[in-house]
Symmetry: C2
Subunit: 384 residues, 2 copies
């Protein structure tokens, strides 16, 4: 278990619907918090990696714009994208820049301002994140794709709509406590089950919402991290994998192979297994996505994910608390910001700064962040 690169600062804007400012201001909220948290100034930062999916806001090439606004010229900067997993891809790239010796301190900035376009426009753009020749022209959308995953899981393993609803109830319970979440209300099992259908079996509360938001992480090499931070959080394991962009090219739909492969890599690099994880953030863009994550990450055997939520094992106090910040289902899902927000939640947990949702004594945490419908999968293991 090597400790070469650490996270020494983390920040996040509130995630909201319809942010009134520009992307500069949105990102500044997260950046200011991270810089203060790390106890440094922009001049200490050797490079910036911006994580964002294009075409939601009009500004192209945001890295250059943000570097200027945040006082990060003339340090190098660029943008990375792997759809909804862009934030953790940025973290992986920053790890490489630091461990290779190119830079000592790198800031990872994830953001998305989705409210400049209409819901229908966002839907169309998300469709074009799937194959525009063979799939998206036929009406495939994110809810429809994940609905197919849910149907496949139901058919093979007997999972039910109520199992999915239980996941949403948990998200509401913790979302209520997260002051940066879009949705801060508990929802009952009946409300989830009786909501309008979006793409059967997924109903309104089974789906996360578009949002505007930013997250920011500051990474440093071992020497600088020990020198600058009273509580560095180390990157113990990194896994990353891909799968076909076309869903018709997949062998099965009852799980995400990219998550399985990435998890194996991350566990191997960290020298730990699923049983060693104290707290996890998983990519719950839809309730079925969290359930599949339980299995793909090895928290449950294939087909047994529903058992975990039925028994309450992914609540605080359970075997493996998952998404104690309310997850994407409560927080909202500002594409490029999401991975950074997930990592921030685990950083706070490992520092003992989790407040009302602190997992007592959490020492090892995991982040699972998916891009597109299982096209890109990143798994990160963090430790004190």
């Amino acid at each position: 278990m090597s400790k070469d690169v650490a996270i020494i600062g983390a920040g996040q804007s509130a995630f909201v619907r319809g942010y009134a400012g520009s992307i500069r201001e949105l990102v500044f909220e997260a950046f200011r918090e991270a810089v203060r948290d790390a106890g440094l100034t922009p001049g200490d930062i050797a490079a910036s990696v911006v994580c964002s999916a294009p075409e939601y806001d009009k500004q192209r090439s945001p890295a250059g714009l943000l570097a200027e606004y945040l006082g990060l010229n003339p340090q190098p900067c660029f943008t990375v994208e792997s759809l909804c997993s862009s934030g953790t891809t940025g973290l992986r790239v920053a790890y490489g820049l630091i461990k290779s010796g190119l830079h000592d301190i790198v800031v990872v900035i994830g953001f998305q301002k989705m409210s400049e376009i209409t819901s229908a426009e966002a839907q169309e753009r998300m469709g074009r994140g799937a194959d525009i020749m063979w799939e998206s022209p036929f009406g495939s959308t994110m809810p429809a794709y994940y609905a197919m995953h849910a149907r496949a899981h139901f058919a093979r393993y007997g999972t039910t709509e109520e199992d999915l609803a239980l996941i949403r109830v948990k998200a509401g319970k913790y979302g209520k406590l997260n002051e940066k979440a879009v949705y801060r209300k508990e929802v009952s099992l009946e409300q989830v089950l009786n909501a309008d259908t979006v793409a059967g079996p997924l109903k309104r509360f089974d789906c996360c919402a578009n949002a505007d938001g930013a997250g920011c992480l500051i990474l440093a090499g071992a020497d600088r991290a020990r020198e600058m931070s009273p509580h560095p959080v180390w990157i113990l394991g990194l896994g990353s994998a891909s799968d076909s962009m076309t869903l018709s090219g997949r062998r099965s739909l009852d799980g995400l192979n990219c998550a399985r492969v990435a998890a194996e890599q991350a566990y191997a690099m960290a020298g730990v297994g699923p049983q060693d994880i104290d707290v996890a953030e998983v990519h719950d863009c839809f309730t079925i996505a969290e359930l599949m994550a339980y299995e793909n990450l090895g928290f449950a055997a294939p087909g047994e994910g529903a058992g975990l939520i039925r028994e309450g094992q992914t609540y605080l106090g359970g075997k493996i608390p998952v998404n104690v910040d309310g997850g994407l289902l409560s927080k909202g899902h500002p594409i490029g910001a999401t991975g950074c927000s997930q990592v921030r939640t685990i950083v706070m947990q490992l520092r003992g700064q989790g407040g009302p949702v602190q997992v007592p004594g959490a020492a090892i945490g995991l982040v699972h962040n998916i891009g597109g419908v299982g096209i890109y999968g990143n798994v990160i293991i963090l430790g004190r």
Copy 2:
């Protein structure tokens, strides 16, 4: 001078106006050539980094699409962007992934298919690569920005339109010999000087053209490179810097500060100076850009760039041959592909495979690749 990461394969599609196939097929042309050149199969490749600016073609998140088509699942993949310097940003990121120990062999794929949109649409998108709040709404376009640089250089140093035209004449001479270039014709000094004005003092031949194209580089760590390649080309120095996105935020317009800073870094890392470079590829999106590069890279003192071209010192046989493949002015400029194409030219030179434009005994080469109007600057030094 460390030799940790090498380029073991390089490929390029023809650069053309109006490619008839999809981005899959366009990229495949470059990928096939690089894979054959490196003597490996897609299964040997541990990760792929795709370099592309968005909004030219309809497909979003091209990394996932290309990984599937090229047989690169389940290996990790993602997209990087720094406008016209995306290709060399991808190389920098791949260097980090390899030297950090995350991967042994990484493919860098740069491409752009610009012909799916009209020239006017391309112009509008390029404008939105500048600041959409303070500059692009007022009509700033790439030729207009570089025209301001030219005027500033003229005013301060007495550089003339004829100096710029001499650069275009050189580009035509070498472009004629490059079978992958869009424009393969010599142009006379009179033709360049008498062409229609685009943005004074820049005339038609002073400006590169949009194009469709792809470039591909295969990078490996030292052990694999020595084992797999009879002629690895080592990454000796890497420099990268940024400048304000708004040109109104710049201290002067007679050079690009990001290029100066990146060059200093690259020379320091490689332990060489401008006088040690045998052959260079510089980002000549406009003739003035090549002239400023002479100075920003230290081939000439500030204000003395015009002397180099007047004396023919950047021709084959001169002090420092520049853009012996015809440069962007002859090849065309398919945004994401450009940096990879520049690196490929230097790789061929260092292997002695330059054909009619070989610089005898070339041992150290340099690539200068700029994103936006000096927002992003990458300088790479390569050696045998």
